[in-house]
């Protein structure tokens, strides 16, 4: 049976984190099983085939495509520099020569006597991937990449933008409800990941970019500000490749939303530690959520495996802490007080399975099970 609730986002003080680091195409792996790597270590590299340009030689020389071969000055596979001649027509008495030059430096990949086109491939593009986390290489995928393992504090966000960023964690808000405005950001935050409160304002985003902040962790962001910083209206939640100068991990949602105390307190307690974040989000099948990973010193490492097994069996039961994720109680945190099995009619008249929730000792309210998420321990 499908679960009638949204599994919560992970907020874990200490857990084992494994990251696959794979090349887009086959290449060379530069580390071995057992190696200790830092986030910046290059673990694998490859070369992507270069870009392709076409030259319509037949047109340039005003010849028929089938005559292209005898007018070519270079052969298939030759490397030719930008501006060098690749073909020349021989007219009567050599008076009116037409020629075609290389538009870019590259290799002659094909010469077509049907279309009269020459295809040139530019230099291969080198691609390197780093470890992203401080940790140990535990597996090598031959020619493709590695698996890195670390023990870390791990927090998932709900939405993010920008790719991976690594830096020291700093806390700029006194609690999760504070709005992050430009006054909270100064030049000491350069190169750091900063933890804010319930909302990051547009002005604060601008300020953070200006001083060179690498990443922001915050409760909420306004959709209008997101549109401004991206320069377009985000249509589908597939992110991670934006180049906006920093990465953002949003823990709660859109609009002003206080960061859950547990999340804020946990992250705040890691102030000063080296932190890896990724804004990459994909809300489709194969969901990817943005994340904050703070590798722990070896001294802090406990029995992480045990903790994972313990958590896997926890479900939604009476007494479970939950967060409401849709109006009218959006963002409120409460405790499950009842789980009636029969369908109930909502104000919208939809018949759905519900649960009872109490917020801070208030009266019990009924909420669709689909509209809460479990706060995972």
């Amino acid at each position: 049976m499908t679960h009638a609730y949204t599994p919560g986002l992970k907020v874990s003080p200490q857990t084992e984190v494994r990251k696959e680091r794979r090349l887009p195409l086959k290449g060379d792996v530069l580390v071995s099983v057992g190696d200790w790597v830092t986030a910046e270590t290059v673990v694998a590299k490859t070369e992507l085939p270069g870009n392709v340009q076409t030259v319509n030689v037949a047109n340039r020389l005003s010849i028929l495509p089938e005559d292209i071969e005898r007018n070519m000055l270079v052969k298939l596979g030759d490397w030719v520099n930008e501006g060098d001649l690749i073909a020349q027509s021989r007219s009567f008495f050599g008076l009116f020569k037409s020629s075609a030059k290389m538009p870019v430096s590259g290799t002659v990949e094909s010469v077509s006597d049907i279309t009269g086109q020459v295809i040139v491939r530019e230099k291969a593009i080198p691609v390197e991937i780093n470890a992203y986390l401080d940790g140990e290489v535990i597996e090598v995928f031959e020619n493709e990449g590695v698996m890195v393992k670390t023990t870390a504090t791990f927090v998932q966000g709900i939405f993010g933008i920008g790719g991976e960023a690594v830096g020291e964690l700093d806390v700029v808000a006194k609690d999760g409800s504070v709005v992050m405005d430009p006054s909270l950001i100064n030049s000491s935050h350069k190169g750091k990941i900063i933890l804010g409160g319930s909302l990051v304002t547009m002005a604060a985003l601008e300020r953070a970019k200006e001083v060179g902040v690498r990443g922001i962790i915050v409760g909420g962001i306004g959709d209008s500000d997101l549109r401004t910083i991206l320069g377009y209206d985000l249509g589908v939640a597939i992110t991670g490749s934006e180049e906006i100068g920093l990465s953002i991990v949003v823990t709660e949602g859109f609009g002003q939303m206080t960061i859950a105390d547990r999340t804020f307190d946990l992250l705040a307690s890691r102030k000063g530690m080296k932190t890896s974040i990724s804004g990459a989000t994909q809300i489709r099948a194969g969901v990817i959520r943005p994340e904050v990973v703070i590798p722990l010193e070896t001294g802090l490492v406990g029995n992480a495996d045990h903790e994972i097994k313990h958590k896997a069996v926890v479900g939604l039961v009476i007494g479970s802490p939950v967060r409401v994720i849709r109006e009218p109680y959006f963002g409120k945190i409460g405790t499950v007080t009842s789980l009636p099995p029969e369908l109930q009619k909502l104000e919208s008249e939809a018949m759905v399975r519900v649960l009872g929730v109490k917020f801070d000792g208030d009266v019990e309210v009924m909420i669709p099970r689909a509209n809460v998420e479990l706060i995972e321990e």
Binding site: I114, F254, R326
Partner: protein, 610 residues
């Protein structure tokens, strides 16, 4: 397949599954008292991804739910047992799939409006999402096209181009571009990309020379052998075959699933298209169907005998809802909302739905906003459909279906709302609307049917399973479709024409099954509903005023019989095209009036303005 047909009458039980990107749905059909009926339905999360990485796990879980609900046994040794033996198993097992994002294709052709457009129709009809259309005249530079092919990493490429005996140069050029791009498929690092060539027969050798070594090339009949005729079926079958051989085999667990079923696994949208075509053919009607999902919206139409399908890959109610807002724009969404909403509030609500796609509207206000979004998603998807469901371009009025509807120019849309007989909606926001009239009203506002149109929704979205069943057992598929799948909402009467608000529009008189007569006289800008139950018929006299056409011409009276449904007969005298008031207060007043006239929402909505 022949084996299945031979034994068709002996088939007592059928299990069909649809492996969606998030949920795998199983239905059990049994022959009872001589007719096939849906018995139960089970579902389980799809298991294409880690930690399971085996689609059959989700299939078995969904079928296990069917077992729980019926007390029967269908699974033996971790397989679906068929044919049924000793009270265990089912006589026939079938499946469709759209897991892993479905089939994502690029198509290429010489002229964008001709062979490339035909290729696009072939791919869409085969159930694919078309990521891009490359054409010799698409105004892009060759290197831009190459980069595009590389960046998109399609599952498959359909190359067409040139009518038989026509250009070979341009086809060779397209083949060279594909070879230069050396595209890697989306799934699997090491297998070569399937390419189908369905173009000029004279270009086959040229294409082979260029692509055979670099791709997994197959060649089918030309999909546009002459300008005047498309021949899409061979290319569509080729696509579906390669989908099974290449794409599906690289999806985890499909190898096993393929062994379980005696007929090929169909891409989900191809199966839906197949059931739509069957219905249109059996009943001799023109049909438009829509399936609005979380990520995509599919529109199908059958006019005359021409079937078309389009998919709007980024219009949907959860994953893609933010894109609906971006494409429709805020004012177009808010024009359907009968109360005040701030733009920033709407924007944040929409984005929060996008990042938490499984939530449902608890408050009435949330439901109304969600249904306003649905109207726009459906409207935009239908616009895209009408643009592609067109007559062949570059042809002088030669289509055989021109007697069915007027073709004023080559390339005119085939979708004529006045000729449409049935509009079928499916997908959560329509099938699960708390009141059926809400689904009817959303479809009317989005599709703007004209004249007389029957409205229906799919009860639990089992059209994919019935579509694949229709391939081997059309009778069972049709019986279940009519009795258990289709929920008839009623008939919409919507005259074409425009009139000043308050001036007479039409009179409708229904002779009800109990012998009484129900008459309504509507002014321009009004709506009304006359209840008429499912299965009932009423003799109708429809008299439009001289500015309006209900199907027989302006001012012409119509005598006909109308079918009922869970809503009844809806009379829409708002005119076509529909113009909503631009003044906000006036618009809210009209929306509230229509909602009240049809009983769309509970309570008095005017109070929500406060």
């Amino acid at each position: 397949m022949a084996e299945v047909n031979k034994d068709a009458e002996n088939i007592q039980s059928i299990i069909a599954t649809d492996c969606g990107s998030t949920t795998t749905k199983a239905i059990l059909i049994e022959k009872r008292d001589g007719e096939y009926r849906l018995i139960v339905r089970g579902e389980a999360p799809t298991t294409v991804e880690a930690p399971f990485e085996d689609v059959t796990r989700g299939v078995l879980n969904a079928v296990a739910e069917v077992e729980d609900l019926t007390g029967n046994t269908y699974i033996k040794d971790d397989k679906i047992e068929h044919p049924r033996k000793g009270g265990v198993g089912t006589d026939l097992y079938l499946s469709t799939s759209s897991a892993g994002g479905g089939l994502q294709m690029m198509v290429a052709g010489v002229v964008k409006e001709m062979t490339a457009e035909s290729a696009q129709r072939a791919a869409l009809g085969a159930g694919a999402i078309v990521m891009d259309v490359i054409a010799s005249n698409d105004m892009r530079q060759p290197h831009e096209r190459i980069q595009r092919i590389r960046a998109l990493r399609p599952d498959m490429i359909l190359l067409s181009g040139g009518i038989d005996g026509g250009t070979t140069t341009h086809v060779a050029e397209l083949a060279e571009l594909i070879a230069a791009a050396d595209p890697r498929p989306r799934l699997g690092m090491s297998y070569s990309l399937p390419v189908i060539f369905a173009g000029n027969v004279d270009a086959r050798e040229l294409v082979k020379d260029r692509l055979e070594a670099k791709t997994s090339l197959s060649i089918t009949e030309n999909l546009r052998p002459v300008l005047e005729r498309e021949n899409l079926q061979p290319a569509r079958l080729g696509i579906q075959e390669l989908f099974l051989e290449h794409v599906m085999k690289h999806a985890p667990g499909y190898g096993n699933l393929l062994e379980w079923t005696p007929v090929p696994i169909m891409p989900t949208p191809a199966a839906v298209g197949s059931i739509m075509q069957l219905i249109a053919k059996e009943e001799g009607i023109n049909v438009v169907g829509v399936d609005i999902g979380g990520a995509t919206t599919d529109v199908f139409s059958v006019f005359g005998e021409v079937f078309n399908r389009t998919v709007s890959a980024n219009l949907g109610m959860s994953y893609s809802i933010s894109n609906v807002l971006a494409e429709a724009t805020v004012p177009n969404i808010l024009r359907w909302v009968p109360f005040d909403v701030e733009e920033t509030d709407l924007r944040n609500r929409v984005k929060n739905k996008m990042i938490r796609p499984t939530t449902i509207p608890q408050a009435l206000e949330s439901l109304i906003i969600e249904q306003a979004m649905a109207r726009e998603a459906l409207r935009l998807a239908f616009i895209q459909h009408k643009l592609l469901a067109v007559g062949l371009k570059g042809v002088q009025q030669e289509r055989t279906i021109s007697d069915t509807f007027e073709q004023t120019e080559s390339g005119a849309t085939l979708v004529d709302m006045m000729q449409l007989d049935m509009l079928v909606g499916s997908g959560g926001v329509l099938s699960h609307a708390p009141r059926r009239v809400q689904a009817a009203f959303m479809m009317i506002d989005a599709f703007m049917p004209e004249g007389l149109t029957e409205l229906a929704v799919d009860s639990i979205f089992m059209m994919p399973q019935l579509g694949v069943l229709a391939q081997v057992h059309p009778r069972a598929a049709l019986e279940v479709f009519h009795k258990d799948c289709l929920i008839r909402l009623g008939t919409c009467i919507a005259p074409r024409g425009e009139g000043k608000e308050g001036t007479p529009c039409l009179e409708v008189s229904l002779e009800m099954p109990d012998g009484t007569t129900e008459s309504r006289s509507l002014k321009s800008g009004e709506m009304a509903v006359i209840p008429l139950e499912v299965g009932q018929k009423a003799k109708a006299i429809i008299k439009p005023t001289r500015k309006f056409d209900a199907g027989a011409g302006r001012g012409k009276e119509i005598h006909t019989e109308l079918g009922g449904g869970q809503v009844g007969v809806i009379i829409d005298a708002r005119g076509r095209p529909l113009t909503l008031p631009t003044d906000k207060a006036e618009r809210v007043r009209k929306l509230t009036e229509w909602n009240d006239a049809l009983g769309v929402y509970p309570g008095a909505h005017s109070s929500m303005e406060d």
